[in-house]
Amino acid sequence: MIIFYDKITGEITGTIRGRLHNEDQLRMWIGDENENGRIICQWKKTETLNKDKTEEIWEPEIQTELFTELEKNSSLLKELVVDTNKVEIVRRPLVP
């Protein structure tokens, strides 16, 4: 998954879904390139469960837990924001 965010506010402005992104997708952008940054999360194969390689385990290369959850539940995106200092996604702070 590629996440685009506002460099100033950290608000997520869009995504490109998928586990592996090729050159064509890396040339894509959401919004203005000067105003928006991006976080690229490629997935990697971590384990092959059997000899004929039909069962494999994949996981995100970064922020494993959040990106795994995000793949299962895309509406989670509404609850996330980007920490622009660390350049990583975090859960949006609860407003009292």
Binding site: I2, E11, I12, T13, G14, T15, I16, R17, G18, D24, Q25, R27, M28, W29, I30, G31, D32, S74, S75, L77, K78
Partner: protein
Amino acid sequence: MTQKIVLTKSGFNAVTETDARNKIFDSSYETLKYFSSGEVTVARSGASASGTFTHNLGYIPFFIVYVDYSADDADFVQCPFYFADFTGYVFIAAWADSTKLYFEVEASVAPPSTLTYHFEYKIFRNDTGL
């Protein structure tokens, strides 16, 4: 002889069947070639707002865009979407050129507070030739 892939329904011969209704797949026919999908959010504080997705394909691709018109749940409707009543209107649309997809919201009045629109796009490799 042209090479092709044909899968027929049970009981039909893939080598001789000519009726497409009896086939599951036939590579003689053009198909949509899925390329990419994702989400774009557009925040509207005035009467209109827009967002872009740069695809850089060099041609106008086949695409589909949905918008979540519910504030609470995920209720998606295909763009363009138009709603009007005695209080005003809102028009939500998406279109493309050879480099970008454009997402636009236009309403009769500015909202009391910023509204966020969630667009879902699906883009295919197919060149529309437009």
